[in-house]
């Protein structure tokens, strides 16, 4: 609210102090638009969401050579103003000035990849009908020059009826000329504005505009003398049915290792650091509720948010790097058929794979999927992939209940059960995707139609900025929700406190304990004792917390003793049911918080919680009852 008021032109200000020029960047995907945005605004950018939608709003500021302020808005990439996805709706409405709460842009800069002009010329012709001044930026002109591709800028400008500026965003070439051109275009534009003649282009409009763009191409562009042969040569290997898949798997292996193992020392350091910090702070505070809130609630809560940061940073470093190079579209091509079997888009592969480490970066990574339905399906099934937080729980139960012996002479039975739990996660994720498609979006498979951009060297500055932005978004937006969930879980497990002379562990007297006792009858058919039910409540904070919670309810210190104690208290059927429960249960408040952030509504996290709880209960029930019939009870 306040920001909008501050940015509006001040009433009664002198005429020679005009409001900052608003420039919108529009362009096809892969045209280097984000690099141009970075070159224009540097570090002076703000990332937020458009109100009511999950689309990212990127705005930056700069000072032109004449000292005037300019506001630049980076709009989502599109091939046309004919919006097909939520991102493209934002682009269309922003350009047309229909976005509620947004000041319409004064100038539109149409960003073009100079080596791939045809489609963007059609977009620029379409933009011209909106009635706002348009400037065409021929980005990556250096690559065009290297290929011997000659663009007659004067002829192009005349034919298109708009100023044309050549730029190289990554080397900051042409940036000042581009701003000058935008300012000049705004000045030359009639103050009362030109009529908005835009309408959603029909099939024949698109054909006509395409013919016009082709005519202008012939007029102003001489085809490259040394066309890019690298992309073709690389694709021969990278899209090869055998080598391509092999290279993709190798790349994923490295990525997975880096996320899974590379992040481990830093995560351990963060955990240990926060434990130490909490301990030190605890010494300074008198025992009591305040100490408990600060140490067990807030410090542990902040630690549990920060602990995800290394994985998120490493994962996004890979994803943004692969996207920048142009490989991500190839990975989607290679995996599309496999994903299509489950009704998912090829691009869902990386997010789902990332979810093996942690569903949170996986869900954040679904931003690479343009279509809303494809993205939502991917988000909804991502937590079924076995994340690393389940490992401590699996390890505890398996080592306590599954005999350590070999099957068929060489396969470890414990390892086999472990593998089975992973496989159950993958299979159920794919099945859930199929079912979700059938129920919610029957037959609504989006067409798979995707440009394979030419490969290019990555730009370190852009990759670094992209990674930092992801980390910032996670800390600022997801972090606040995760922290509040953590404090809620702390509250439930702490209040009311144990009465004087209590014999049972304190958690048993708390709300978590009450809930555990209350749901015990419901949990009986799946073989859960009240202690198990109680441990599930703090386990909502994060799956691995359940291990510590079990130790608390059984009043045991040290995990070695815990396994032995569980083996005495639980039947094998209950233990197997507990494992089955953990394959499906939505035992992670952070994941639900991130889903809420990414979908911008409580509907999806609630739906996720509902369907996963049902699956968990169903699976645990089947496992428990079957095991009892098989006399494991």
């Amino acid at each position: 609210m306040t920001a909008a008021v501050l940015e509006a032109p001040t009433v009664g200000a002198p005429a020679n102090a005009p409001h900052a020029l608003r420039v919108a960047l529009v362009g096809a995907p892969n045209c280097g638009k984000t690099a141009l945005f970075n070159a224009l605004t540097g570090a002076r950018q703000k990332v937020a969401n458009y109100s009511g939608v999950t689309v990212e709003r990127k705005e930056g500021r700069l000072t032109a050579s004449d000292g005037a302020g300019v506001v630049v808005i980076d709009l989502p990439g599109t091939y046309s103003l004919r919006a097909r996805s939520p991102d493209e709706v934002v682009t269309r409405d922003a350009v047309l000035g229909r976005l509620p709460g947004e000041v319409p842009p004064d100038v539109v800069i149409c960003v073009a990849d100079a080596t791939n002009l045809r489609l963007v010329l059609r977009l620029a012709l379409e933009l011209r009908t909106v009635g706002r001044p348009v400037v065409l930026a021929l980005n990556m002109i250096d690559i065009a020059e290297r290929q011997g591709l000659v663009i007659d800028q004067a002829a192009l400008s005349k034919a298109m009826g708009m100023p044309v500026v050549a730029t190289v965003a990554t080397r900051r070439r042409g940036i000042e000329s581009l701003i000058d051109a935008a300012q000049a275009a705004a000045r030359a534009h009639p103050a009362e504005g030109a009529p908005d003649l835009w309408h959603e282009p029909s099939v024949s409009d698109i054909r006509r505009l395409h013919r016009e763009a082709t005519r202008i191409m012939r007029l102003a562009v001489t085809p490259p003398k040394r066309p890019d042969t690298w992309t073709g040569k690389l694709d021969d290997v990278l899209l090869h049915p055998v080598f391509g898949i092999g290279i993709l798997l190798a790349m994923l292996f490295v990525m997975f290792q880096a996320v899974f193992i590379g992040a481990k020392p830093i995560m351990d350091l963060i955990s240990a650091g926060f434990a130490l910090f909490g301990g030190e702070v605890g010494k300074l505070l008198p025992p009591g509720l305040l100490k408990s809130l600060i140490c067990d609630g807030i410090i542990t809560g902040v630690g549990s948010v920060l602990v995800f940061l290394p994985q998120i940073t490493i994962l996004f470093l890979f994803i943004i790097l692969l996207e920048d190079v142009g490989y991500m579209a190839r990975a989607a091509f290679l995996m599309d058929r496999l994903m299509a079997g489950a009704g998912l888009h090829g691009r869902a592969f990386i997010p789902l794979l990332s979810s093996f480490a942690c569903a949170i970066p996986g869900i954040m990574a679904t931003r690479v999927i343009d279509q809303k339905r494809d993205r939502l399906t991917t988000i909804m099934v991502a937590p079924l992939m076995t994340c690393s937080a389940r490992i401590p729980v699996y390890t505890l139960i398996i080592s306590a209940f599954i005999p350590n012996r070999a099957v068929l002479g060489f396969i470890s039975l414990q390892g086999l059960v472990f593998f089975g739990l992973y496989a159950a996660g993958i299979v159920s994720a794919l099945l859930a995707a199929v079912v979700m498609r059938r129920i919610f979006w029957r037959g609504a498979a989006e067409p798979f139609l995707m440009e394979l951009p030419a490969y290019k060297a990555p730009d370190a500055v852009n990759v670094a900025r992209g990674v930092l932005q992801r980390a910032e978004i996670f800390l600022k937006r997801a972090g606040t929700t995760i922290l509040s969930m953590m404090i809620l879980v702390w509250f439930l497990s702490t209040f009311p406190g144990a009465p004087a002379g209590a014999v049972r562990p304190a958690i048993d007297y708390s709300f978590a304990g009450m809930i555990g006792h209350a749901i015990e009858p419901v949990m009986a058919p799946i073989g859960f004792s009240w202690q198990m039910a109680v441990a599930l409540i703090p386990g909502m904070a994060a799956r691995e917390v359940a291990v510590g919670a079990l130790a608390t309810v059984y009043a045991i210190s040290g995990e070695g003793g815990l396994g032995a104690s569980l083996a005495r208290h639980w039947s094998l059927a209950s233990a197997l049911a507990f494992l089955a429960w953990y394959v499906f249960a939505p035992q992670c408040a952070s994941t639900l918080a991130v889903v809420k952030r990414e979908t911008n509504s409580w509907r999806w996290p609630l739906a996720m919680f509902g369907y996963m709880i049902v699956l968990a209960y169903g699976a645990a029930f089947v496992v428990y009852q079957t095991a009892r019939l098989a006399r494991f009870g």
């Binding site: 046309s80 489609l119 694709d235 599309d336 058929r337 609504a444 798979f448 440009e451």
Partner: protein, 120 residues
């Protein structure tokens, strides 16, 4: 094959409806002396002659009009040169094509709506 004449999604850009229904009774690849891109193999090279969305042309969750616009926006326009560069490893699907001066990936289901004529 069942032809529904007044099906609004049954559209044939190149021919009048009556003629279109007549020819779509013929084997698909011979109907107009041209083929669909979706039925071609790697190495095929030719020119796009039109887009067609008959009863056999599925368009998934979007209407055929919407699919036609998406294909056009991606550059699948009459007269564009197209060459199949790569095929997926399961069922040779999806395909990667060179379309004039850019590269595009699409599933065969969508590519079956693109009519092509072979030869240089």
């Amino acid at each position: 094959m069942i032809i529904v004449l007044n099906n609004p999604t049954h559209r044939f850009t190149a021919l009048p409806a009556s003629l279109a229904s007549a020819v779509s009774n013929l084997p698909r690849d011979n109907a107009l002396g041209d083929f669909t891109l979706g039925d071609q193999r790697r190495g095929f090279s030719g020119v796009i002659t039109g887009l067609s969305f008959g009863p056999t042309g599925q368009s998934g969750g979007v209407s055929s009009l919407e699919l036609e616009r998406r294909l056009l926006e991606m550059g699948f326009v009459e007269g564009a040169r197209v060459e199949i560069l790569h095929e997926g490893f399961i069922g040779r699907d999806p395909i990667a094509v060179k379309l004039d001066d850019m590269r595009v990936a699409l599933r065969r289901r969508e590519a079956r709506c693109v009519r092509v004529r072979g030869g240089s």
